[in-house]
């Protein structure tokens, strides 16, 4: 039993990593609030579904198209909405959350509710690890999690655009003096984060149905992981995902699902109390407390 819980806990953790990476890229690494993140995640799922079922496109056309459209939507969101209130943090959060709310409730209004909204999974085969059978979709999730994390880590370290992401979060004015077009960089960062959300949606959603409420859960989970790990730290996202993912699975197994949420909330509270900028956060002591 315990090995089963541990292995499924690990997979749950990779799901959290996938979900949090995009949010961390936008909010943590580039310092742009995008609280429409959960809505974009769900939108990608529905776009892929519409491509496959309504327009009957093959999967290899529909999936990349969904990712692309989601990224473009997010870029537009930044250009049309966020840019006008840039710097006013409360307004940024409210405006993007409002857009997300409108998107999600629009899907609900249009009748995107039900069991028929599923995406195809990777096929019917499984691998046995330590006596526990893992199906192909979960294997794909683990593989994608590893690949996307590695790509993000390399991208933010070895490419000009990736380093510009980090630069605008550290000091926007200094970035400007070094010839970085901050508005363009921020647009790309938001679109890039949304693209990550879309890819995560395409590999995670086949495990269940595409539900509107998933949008809210994804946002809360992503936020929790980013706080515990430390905003802007990729390593932090991984460690925090494993802590929260394992804690969630083990409490669900031994204490009951009611306690699942409480454990992760207590974890966040403790982290905030002891180390406000997260396990691997790079903020200075004086910025977080006095």
């Amino acid at each position: 039993m315990l090995t089963g819980y541990l292995i499924y806990g690990l997979i749950n953790s990779v799901v959290l990593v996938l979900v949090a990476l995009g949010f961390n890229l936008t909010f943590g690494i580039s310092g742009v609030a995008n609280f429409a993140f959960g809505a974009l995640y769900v939108t990608a799922g529905f776009l892929a579904w519409i491509g496959l079922n309504t327009l009957s496109l093959p999967y290899w056309v529909s999936a990349p198209l969904a990712v692309l459209i989601t990224a473009v939507l997010a870029g537009l969101l930044y250009r049309v909405v966020v840019l006008r209130v840039r710097g006013l943090v409360v307004s940024e959060v409210i405006a993007t959350f409002g857009v997300g709310l409108a998107l999600l409730e629009l899907f609900r209004f249009l009748g995107f509710i039900g069991f028929e909204y599923t995406l195809p999974d990777a096929g019917d085969f499984g691998v046995s690890v330590l006596g526990v059978v893992i199906d192909s979709q979960r294997l794909l999730i683990v593989a994608m999690g590893a690949a996307l994390t590695a790509f993000l880590w390399l991208f933010t370290r070895y490419t000009t655009t990736g380093r510009a992401f980090r630069a605008i979060a550290q000091d926007e004015h200094t970035a400007l003096t070094l010839g970085i077009n901050t508005e363009r960089t921020a647009t790309i960062a938001v679109a890039f984060g949304a693209g990550y959300a879309a890819v995560a949606a395409l590999v995670i959603l086949p495990l269940g149905t595409i539900a509107v409420n998933e949008g809210y859960n994804v946002l809360v989970n992503a936020l929790a992981v980013c706080i515990v790990g430390g905003l802007g730290s990729t390593l932090g996202v991984i460690v925090a995902s494993f802590l929260i993912g394992m804690a969630q699975t083990l409490t669900a197994a031994y204490l009951g699902t009611h306690w699942m949420m409480i454990v992760s909330l207590v974890a966040i509270l403790l982290i905030l109390l002891v180390r406000p900028s997260g396990l691997f956060g790079s903020h200075k002591q004086l910025e977080e407390r006095i």
Binding site: I94, A95, G98, L101, H258, M261, L265
Partner: protein
Amino acid sequence: MAAVATNPTAPSPARQRKERLDRGIKVRSEDIYALNSWRELAYLLAPRVLPVILVLLLGFGAPLYWQRVLLSTMVFGLLAISWDLLAQAGMVCLGQALFFGVGAYIAGILNHYFGITPFVTIPLGALGGGLLCTLLLLPVLRLRGIYFAMVTLILPLMIERIIEATKIFGGTEGISGLTPLPGHGLELFLIMAAFWIALFGFRRMMTSDYGLVLKGINDNDRAVMSAGLNIYRYKAQILFLAGSTGAFAGAFMTHAYQFVGMPVFALDYSILPIASAAVGGLGTLAGPALGAFILVPMSELLRGFGGLRIVIYAVLLVVFTVGLPEGVFHFLRRKYTQFERWAEVSK
């Protein structure tokens, strides 16, 4: 005294800018304070007295349904005022539902288990709620900005889950059948009185020396510390004041709806005050209150749209925050106290 700003989006022909000048009547009645006519007295009094009278007429003249809407509007208004008070002392709170919920539960428990009358439970709920929340947040008072905000976001969610998991105080069912306040008229009068006292009282407080220290904490806390003031004492006091205001709203709502349950910790009670502040304008106390008066009735009016209601509401919220980032109140105040004209830009 000329406040000048350029407006990049205005349809200006070649090289013009918008010039803003204070009205003479503002300078005479506010800055040098030499009132010399009824007109100037009226200029000062109108924006303060007219809303009170208007709300009074609206409250006692409207049909019962809209009286209830007004009631919940003012409850949200109180929450928005308490949010802005905290924000002005440098504490951005994402969990106004904590104050609201704690106040609501204290009043509900006292009434249900001990049979105490609402006239005692509401004040006890307000003061006890304020005290409890202050004690709860005391350990994180040293945290700043977004870190404090995150703690306040998480606490109400956690209490909600604990009530769900341990099934205390009625669990998911909540406690219903509480004693109502005698008469709708009294109910309405009580919440109006509380609303205006909080609004004008806290506005007055912010103009005093005490308020100056609070604003200082918001602007630069280390400078206030180096002036030899204990900022944690100030912060704890404001936490108690704002907490009590929020808890009063919760305790009052409990008796108005005769029910207390997990929904009092819901995200609505945290988000709406912030949205009100964003729409109405931060940092004035009157702005967030005005925002609540725009948002709550608007969400009621949209009920006719059924499922589209939240979509339209969210879109309007975005339009307000993006189109008028300074807030409705700042915009109105500017129009009331200044006049604008196009002026040539000299090289």
